[in-house]
Symmetry: C2
Subunit: 437 residues, 2 copies
């Protein structure tokens, strides 16, 4: 049996490893366009901040997959065409054709590039693949003024990275707040924190990037900003071109539609990772939230099923986390805005709390915005900003939402308490109490 | 309506506050034997370590309850006898009688004092009420050699406290490991860590405490240890004497038996907090786990129900956490040993993991022992030791166990990931995968 996998990122390599573990005698070939495998763009901001090489961004080296796991790994191998049962690949300057019985599309996502003048100038970058990390690091050494276009996750993380290495950073965002996928109460905390460290320009739209050869400035509808280095961080889109060639159906989110076994509408063709759609467990509707943990698990599920097993990927609750310097910011489930759009009868609570009992040194502030369905008391989502333990509280909410907890269930959650770690009434419990039950 | 509450700790004051909030016109009297309210012994080790006064251990000052909440608060008021409808109280040297229509017994727990010679010597202490903190602090200033008898939570926390203020600390434990309510894999990590900082004497039983007026040494079956200060930390027992006077039934754990509304077998008599039994949600059997968060919530539930409401305390999963210097140690649900005793067909996993992705600075080690029911794949418990994020992972397990998660549910939990916080495959997810589903 010949299994072909397009894309050697988290999902592709998870799937390949699973298939070989379950069916060692099968031929499993992975075609990866770069020289990197099991990589993820989430590390790139930290490669800039802590100045390490892109090879560090790989979780496993290619040899591990080839020698230990017996995978037929093709690096620098760009799949240019897919037919049923066949693949055409540009590999080290040559074109080759490979046959497949089962195919996994794990082509990932790519940055959206805004349709403005100057995006091709030298020192204008997107944050996507490991080689970008090296190019950006190199350019950063010469740069003084950095302009980041977009204040989503990547924009916020790159803003910290460049500010931490002493660049003058300007962040330009079209919307009225950073991390606008959070409700305003939380985004505003992020805004205040960012304004301490970088120039944050909100409600400005970039009209052009200008320069002779290298970038020199960014022009917006409100002004212009000197720039030696520009980061385009205006979102990502799923890579679905090859899927479309094969007649694979896309979902309403624009990503590849699959069932819970990661099967597409085309027999023997699977999709997993950032190119694939999944289900939001709160709304039960299709969702596209391209993040590494779900990508890995989708790959795992696809691999098991391709190898003849039977396992389902249940979906996600949309858990996400990031930080800007000491401020940690996370969410799970729906925001109030999202929940209202979905037609829920929403009640929300916004609380401020300390992270430890009053007498234990080092307590920090934390803020929780929690949202419930007022008809059923089910917890729909939570957003948390704070200076420690945000991951803990986001994960408690994520687990509670996955379990379908009501506010009462959450109020009675038996969470750990000791003075060095938490207050007696954990802020999560307080949020449940304020939401009422 | 006259409500009397015996005990002004966490449970008593939570209940009193609830009743007054719901029935402001009712007379709510709290009788507290000390001059402290809303206190908890969990802070005492930190009062020693960070050298602060016992008044800091109160969450709210007495005035808050009297002035803001309208509670009739009697401090230094020891209830000496309870009859149906009546209380006899020793108050400021006088004896008084009060009437009640509804009664809450919130008498807490007290340290067990070993039946050996010398426990009454000067500078031999138990860790119980806020005044103990001041007495211990005062004695510690003069002490060089501290002997702690017992290596449970209090023993471990007091060992850190005295070692941190540069005392020579010897911990004597009858069993073969510290924190013996954990499985051996985890206790052994604690043992190693403790041995770096204190003299840990295991499998030794204390035979006498000796000295002229003040304590001078502790004698065991294996040797003797110089001691200027001794801490007795050999467990606690529920305070049930007053309950027994009234004919209130005790449960199989020895604590007061209640239903989920915190009602005892005697009409209009409730019990809550460290003197009351509850249900272990994993075994569905009576459990006595005297800890502050559950105590507070039991008080809340008792208060609502005394005021005519209807709310149930569902029980606990037994979540606990502590630390010894940088090592954080927590558990929830059943250990392997406990699960076997309960007759489960147990499968366990013990994993070691790093707390962050490899390229992000500052990753630390963490160890998870997780236990499932091999017949149903339900998660039964987890124990975690590590150098960060233990609270997070214990709380994820606690929430998952409360929800009745199987290993598969937990494997697909949508936990937060970003390089500064966690690895892509969170150790919790890895544990679920190793346990199989």
């Amino acid at each position: 049996m010949k299994v072909a996998i397009i894309g050697g990122g988290a999902a592709g390599m998870s799937a390949a490893s699973r298939v070989k573990a379950l069916k060692p005698e099968w031929e499993v070939s992975v075609f990866e366009a770069t020289s990197f495998v099991s990589h993820a763009p989430c590390g790139i901001p930290y490669a800039i901040e802590f100045d390490f090489g892109s090879e560090e961004l790989m979780y496993y080296k290619p040899e591990v997959f080839v020698k230990e796991r017996g995978i037929d790994l093709h690096l620098n191998a760009k799949v240019v065409e897919v037919d049923y049962g066949k693949l055409r690949v540009e590999e080290n300057g040559k074109e080759k054709t490979y046959e497949w019985d089962k195919l996994l599309i794990a082509t990932g996502a790519s940055p959206k590039v805004p349709k403005i003048e100057g995006v091709d100038l030298e020192n204008v970058f997107t944050v996507d693949l490991p080689p970008d990390a090296d190019r950006i690091r190199r350019a950063a050494k010469e740069a003084e003024n950095v302009v980041i276009i977009g204040a989503g996750y990547i924009g916020v993380e790159m803003a910290e990275a460049f500010s931490a290495i002493n660049k003058k950073v300007t962040v330009i965002e079209f919307l009225d707040r950073p991390l606008a996928n959070f409700d305003r109460e939380i985004s505003n905390i992020v805004k205040e924190e960012m304004e301490k460290k970088v120039e944050l320009k909100l409600e400005e739209s970039v009209e052009a990037i200008e320069g002779k050869d290298k970038v020199e400035k960014v022009v917006t509808n409100k002004g212009e900003y000197k720039a030696d280095l520009v980061i385009l961080a205006t979102g990502v889109k799923p890579n679905v071109e090859l899927a479309k060639q094969l007649g694979v159906e896309l979902g309403e989110t624009g990503a590849i539609k699959t069932n819970s076994k990661m099967e597409t509408n085309v027999e023997n063709v699977y999709a997993a990772g950032d190119c694939a759609e999944t289900i939001n467990l709160v709304t039960k509707k299709p969702a596209w939230i391209p993040l590494a943990p779900a990508g890995n698990k989708m790959g795992y599920v696809a691999g098991v099923n391709m190898a003849g097993g039977n396992i389902e990927f249940p979906g996600v609750v949309g858990t996400q986390i990031t930080k800007f310097y000491d401020l940690q910011i996370g969410k799970t489930g729906l925001t109030e805005e999202e929940a209202k759009k979905e037609g829920f009868n929403v009640k929300s609570a916004f609380i401020q709390a300390n992270t430890k009992v009053h007498y234990y040194p080092g307590a920090k502030k934390t803020f929780i915005k929690a949202v419930k369905d007022a008809d059923t008391n089910r917890i729909l989502g939570a957003q948390i900003a704070g200076y420690e333990m945000v991951t803990m509280r986001v994960n408690v909410f994520a687990t509670a939402i996955q379990a379908g907890f009501t506010t009462r269930d959450l109020f009675f959650a038996d969470l750990a308490y000791a003075p060095p770690f938490t207050p007696i009434w954990d802020p999560v419990i307080v949020a449940a109490r304020v939401l009422k039950f």
